[in-house]
Amino acid sequence: MDINGGQALVKALEHEGVEVVFGLPGGAILPVYDPIIESPIRHILVRHEQGAGHMAEGYAHATGRPGVMMITSGPGATNGVTPLCDAYMDSIPLVCITGQVPYPAIGTDAFQECDTTGITMSVTKHNFLVTEAQDIPRVIHEAFHIATTGRPGPVLVDVPKDIVDPNNPRSAMTWYEPNDDIMELPGYRPVTDCDPQLLRAAAQLISAAKRPVIYAGGGILKARAAKELLELAELIDVPVVTTLMARGAFPDSHELCLGMPGMHGNYTAVTAMQHSDLLIALGARFDDRVTGRLDGFAPDAKVIHVDIDAAELGKVRQPDVAMHGDCRVVIAALVKELHDCGGRDAQPDRQAWRSQISGWQERYPLVYEQSEPGERLKPQYVLEVLRDSTPNDTIVTSGVGQHQMWTSQYWRFDHPYTWINSGGLGTMGFSVPAAIGAKVGKPDRMVWAIDGDGCFQMTAQELVTAATGRIPIKVALFNNAYLGMVRQWQEMFYDERYSEVYLSYEVPDYVKWAEAMGCVALRAEAPEEVAPAINKANEINDRPVVVEFRCERGENVYPMVPAGCTNSELVVDPSQR
């Protein structure tokens, strides 16, 4: 079948099973947008290319399928860099199609030309510049293959206009169905399973450990290994911490769950790791926000480290047993190995460790002080009400900062893929577009975007996308009139010298702004207004809703490991000191 490159590109996306593309057209990508009119692929027209990327990320995280964004050359591509980097840091499978100036014009500083592959080289798992129309189906297939296998990540395909423009003879091509056999990737060989010898070594370490902790990272979710993790933890009766990227990978309501470790983690999660004699790290990367000062991190612990990316093994902490493989495959094999070695009965008595842990849990629960009458809302209170007023499988997205940490702390994540946030890059403005992407992927689920006032102002225009596209997300806007996390650091580490962190309670008027964007807008200022506002928002399903919660400006996130300190120097809530 003789078609043009633009048609081939859209057909190739259909062939990969793409059901939705988030994008914004422009000059160089115009020829690809023409065949989209006839395509069954749904296109979500965003208001800024960064939004397209975060929507694709939210979609990918909620569904497990790769997210697709399509944007034009030059400024379109550069606006897409932040979500690409975000997806790279958090290993989100993403395919980004960018328009490019015609091939002969590359390098001439043409209108809206930029070196897209050069700029995105360090923030993508791989990128391609396609030079011939005939290569399009193969390259698109390779892009999806790379994005979704091994350690997932974003892949960018840069497409010069001449090879997709039907008016240019260079766009002529003969369609073929791409498949794995025609891929030209001699250097790409992702692994899945690992050496059986190592399973035995890992099982032996586990059976010898008196104070083990399972350190579950985002890799559990990427590998779709939540079930295997639960089996492992229950088999050996070992407590589990779930990192910021792994919240929901193990049910918070499970008695073995200790919650989130790290800089703003639960006292028990942080302290259990510090006292542990064996960390079973599964799909985790010993991020600095988890370890605190590295030379004081879990000093007595041996380490079993399972990761799909060999470069993570030994990058930060040298493991005693390093297992390079897919978490689901390796954990399942480890469970079998442990069964073969005697199962639960072969595990030593860890009663002392259990009592030590429950002692910490009793003494240092998460706490906050309820607001006095006349004071503004406590964000933790709002989160508790929101948590208790929404279905258990509600998908929650978040921006970056205090509200993100409180949400991770106070929500109860009992299902995988219900928590979507920007962990590695820490991208403010992530929440609203990610929620839109998640809702597009999971239209039957309730989706709440938790956002701060600083974050909201970065990407709020995507609520126009949600309103016009009938994507009924709900936004809980925690307005404390500050860049709250930065304010907290200035209070604690810069002698309360507040530099450029004050925003304003009144400007913008969030209710008017949200209404102008086609949303229903509500505001709650007193504790008794919180539940009614949430209940009202929950009843609206034909358009997006924004609920502004006027929150206390001085509230700090505790516990906290100050930067440069070890996790043993965790600072707890003032009432617990």
Binding site: S122, K125, H126, I146, G187, A310, A311, L313, G314
Partner: protein, 178 residues
């Protein structure tokens, strides 16, 4: 020329601890060198020497580089390189089991006095360098040898006055199995 066995024993005398040689086979495509050098820059790995050229199979090129293992553990360098989609094969060459060579072109002042000129010619002879061109006052020399031998030659030439000097960066191949 020295035999291969001599070369091996010479290598044995100078095991290099700080700099390690890594030979990568990469797809011969535009931008691959940028991916490799970009990775080094981003991860803070220091490259001491770099040489790139196509292999006998034109689909692939070979990038030979010497990395400063004080800047990053070699294992991490190799693992990160392996993640690049266009990198097909990576071999870390131990100095004991490989031959390394580098080419130097150098323009040196030919000596003012006859005596010094003889000294220079003896030096060229000792090092088995070649005179590729000469003028009244200068000589253009070439030497292909182990990198440490080039260092030595360069050092000795300084006393005559180096006008211009260019080295290629080292290439390496493993010794044959006995």
């Amino acid at each position: 020329m020295t035999s291969l066995n001599d070369a091996a024993s010479e290598e044995f005398l100078e095991p290099q601890q700080r700099f390690r040689t890594v030979v990568t086979t990469v797809e011969n495509k535009p931008g691959v060198l940028a991916r490799v050098s970009g990775l080094f820059a981003r991860r803070g790995f220091n490259i001491e020497s770099l040489a790139v050229a196509p292999t006998a199979d034109e689909r692939f090129s070979r990038i030979t580089f010497t990395v400063d293992v004080a800047s990053a553990p070699l294992e991490q360098v190799v693992k990160q390189l392996d993640k690049l989609i266009n990198v097909v094969e990576i071999r870390e060459l131990s100095p004991l089991e490989s031959v390394e060579r580098e080419l130097m072109l150098v323009i040196v002042k030919s000596a003012a006095s006859n005596e010094r000129r003889h000294e220079l010619l003896d030096l060229i002879d000792d090092f088995r360098a070649y005179v590729l061109d000469q003028s009244q006052s200068q000589m253009l020399l070439s030497l292909s040898a182990r990198p440490t031998r080039l260092d030595e030659f360069e050092q000795r030439l300084r006393t005559f006055g180096i006008v211009e000097l260019q080295r290629t960066g080292r290439v390496a191949l493993p010794l044959l199995a006995p």
